[in-house]
Each structure stands twice: as C-alpha cells, then as structure tokens.
Symmetry: C2
Subunit: 204 residues, 2 copies
DNA sequence: CGGTCAATGTTGACAGTGGAAACATAGAAG
DNA sequence: CTTCTATGTTTCCACTGTCAACATTGACCG
C-alpha cells in the first residue's frame, strides 16, 4: 500500500499528499491564498475528499503549522549542537529561530496565525511547547554556568522568545520603510540576542 | 477631497459609519470574523454600498489598521509624557506598546495582519513609520544622554521594537502553555524592556 | 471462493463571500 | 426646472467551506 500515484480510485496515502500540497500552496501563495479546494485540485482529487482526512479547513492548516514547528525545532537543535558554551548555544537557538522565519515566511505566519493559536489541537500544542522548552533549557544552562543571573527563569525565557519572535515578524512583515531593507537578518539577530544576553548577565 | 461629516448625501457620512462598524466587528469577532457584508448589514445598507467608499475589502481593513496605529501612537506619546528621564520615557513607550496590544488584541492583529503589511497604502505606511519613529527618537535621546551606547541607532531601535512586538504577540497568542497565564503583562513588559536597556547600556 | 463491511473517494447541493455591472435616486449646479 | 454626478441598490457571477447521499474498493470472514 505504498503511495504509488496511479489513477486508482483510492489514492494510497492521501492524507500525506494533501499535507505536502498544502505546504507547497502556502509557500507559493501565502496563508491567504490557501484553499481547501485548490489543495484537492493539486492532488487531483475531488473537492470533498480532504474531509476524510481533516475535519475542516483549519485542521489542515494546523497540520501545516505542526510540520513547521517540527522543522523549526530541528533546525534550532541542529544549530545549537555546533556550539559549546551555553551562551553561544543560546544565541544559536535564537538566530536559527529568526533564520527559519526569514527563510519560510509563509510557513512561519501559518504557525502563528489565528487558526493555529487556539489550542484545541493537542499535538500542535505539544510541539509548540517544545519550542519554548528549548529556550527554557538554554536559559537554565546559562544560569547554571553563571552567565545569566539566577531566578525568574520563565520570565527570562519569555524575554528571549519575545526578542527573536518580534524580530522575526518585523523582518518578514517590514512594517516600516524606516527599517533599512539591506540589513542582514543574521547580523540583526546576532545583535539583538547579544544585547539581550548582555542585559541578562549576572552582575557582581 | 475628504468627505466631511457635513456633506451627507444619502446616508450621511457612510464612510465613517462603515469604519466604526468595522472597528466594532473586529473587536467582537476578531479579524477572521470580519466580513464586508456583515459591516454593511450593521450599518443598514446594501452589501455593495461599501464599494463607493473602499475599493475592496482589504481597504476597509487597512483603514481599521490605520485607526489602530493612530490610537496606539497617541497612547504611547501620552505614556511617554508622564516621565522625565530618557530611560523611563523609553521604557514607558515600550510598556504602552504592549499594553495596547493586550487591551485591543484583535485590533492589534489587524494592524499587523497580512492585509495591512503590504504597503500599497500611503497613509497607512506613514502612520506605521511614525510608530517606529517614536522608538527611534527615544533611542537617540538615550544616546545623547549617554545612557545608551552611541552608534547603530537604527539597529538598536529595531531591537527595541522587536522585544515589545514579540512580547505583545506572545501575550495575546499564548503560543505555549508553559507561559504561565498569571504573569501580568505590565510587569513582564517592564522586565523585558529593563533587560534590553541594560544590554544597550553604555559600558565604560 | 464469495459475500459483507468499513474506509475512502465522488457528486451535487447549500449558504455565504468578495466583487462587477446595470440601474436608481437625490442633492447640487446651471 | 433641468441636468449632472456622487452615492446607494439590485442583480449577477465565480468561488469557498461544508454537508449528505452515493459509489468503489480492498480487507476480512464464512
């Protein structure tokens, strides 16, 4: 029962095919251009077929979001592994976050769009928590290494998430023309995380 | 020429009435529940009437966004005026930003939603720039007072915007259950801005 | 082997939406 | 009073999400 794309009545693995087509569609036309019927069209299936695999339109979008969170988490973990000290690992985490958003803006928007943030979806909520978990662990590691002031772990992690999350949105939305377009995302991410870590530094 | 409330033809300044109804609708049902026809219905006018005042659905949403940016800018300016030192003025700006988002989440989402960020709308782009302008001025003031390291003004302002923008979204979207729900927005905003300013501090 | 059944896919409907075109009306301008 | 133009209405269209009824298929069981 491999998904051989024959023109059989039964598709083999339609759920997976729908998800992949949805990913492509979102990447191509953005979250607004996403349409259940268009996804079905691309897979070559009738417009009601998706309902056998996803309860409603938003469920498919949530699956897209979940896929995105997994990919981002993996990218963050991978970026983290290249570094040794808790500080640089922490920073690598943040930079990977921003980079993912800049590289996959539509996907990132779906991940934090209105259909994905209501957590009636357990698996989506879990992978979202994992993302924040990475930041939390990094903060703890920095605290244990004595490079970040102790206490208020959650609050510090929220601050860290805020800064990369905000920068990510500013870079993909460009809400002001006074943000110079030539600024490199990576450099900015480095500056922003450095500044924040400096502010969280343990002072003696 | 802008239609002043006096030159009422049939309805009597329908444009304004539509905008106000749109504001209410967004506040009630969120950006997703916003519908041109529902707005028309609430004003008691046919579903095609809005097209005499707004080129398309997104234009009305952009007007809502513009209204929101004006209100937020005013709130920020007002919060700023209560303080003396450049640092506390800067921080007040950021806290007002977060507070506005938390107090008007739907409105805030529209302001940074996908329909408002493409800047084919001159007046919307202008008021967006003004918001960033406030941050820029505050950074310059802090630099002149010697409490923020000189240079890289734009980058520092972007960092400041990032942190309040990100915190705003995290607070209204709550993307992780590991963000404790009881944390007060205001305190968090204070912590986050303090941390950032500490990081931007001039070091001797 | 054949029959039954649940899973999967299709067809056709429905209400709701954004948008365009043709028509209607009322106030201003002559 | 007539005419013109800005505003509002009606009517239509293509498209969407969703549902119910129907069709097909492979798997399981006698």
């Amino acid at each position: 029962m491999e998904p051989s794309p024959t023109d059989a009545y039964h598709h083999g693995d339609l759920g997976r095919a729908l998800l992949e087509a949805a990913l492509e569609l979102v990447a191509e036309r953005g979250p607004a251009g996403f349409t259940l019927r268009e996804v079905a069209r691309r897979v070559g299936v009738s417009h009601a077929a998706p309902y056998r695999h996803f309860a409603h339109r938003d469920a498919l979008l949530q699956a897209v979001a979940e896929e995105g969170f997994s990919a981002m988490r993996d990218a963050m973990v991978q970026a983290c592994e290249c570094h040794e000290t808790p500080q640089s690992r922490f920073q690598a985490l943040g930079i990977a976050y921003v980079r993912f958003a800049v590289d996959h803006p539509s996907h990132f928007r779906v991940m934090f769009g209105p259909h994905s943030t209501k957590d009636d979806n357990a698996s989506l909520a879990r992978v979202r928590d994992q993302t924040f978990g990475l930041l939390l662990e990094a903060v703890v590691a920095c605290q244990q290494a004595g490079v970040v002031r102790p206490g208020a772990t959650h609050e510090i992690a929220i601050a860290a998430w805020s800064v990369v999350h905000g920068l990510a949105f500013l870079l993909i939305d460009r809400p002001s023309r006074r943000i110079p377009p030539e600024v490199a995302a990576e450099e900015l991410a480095r500056l922003v995380t450095t500044t924040l870590m400096e502010g969280m530094r343990r002072r003696d």
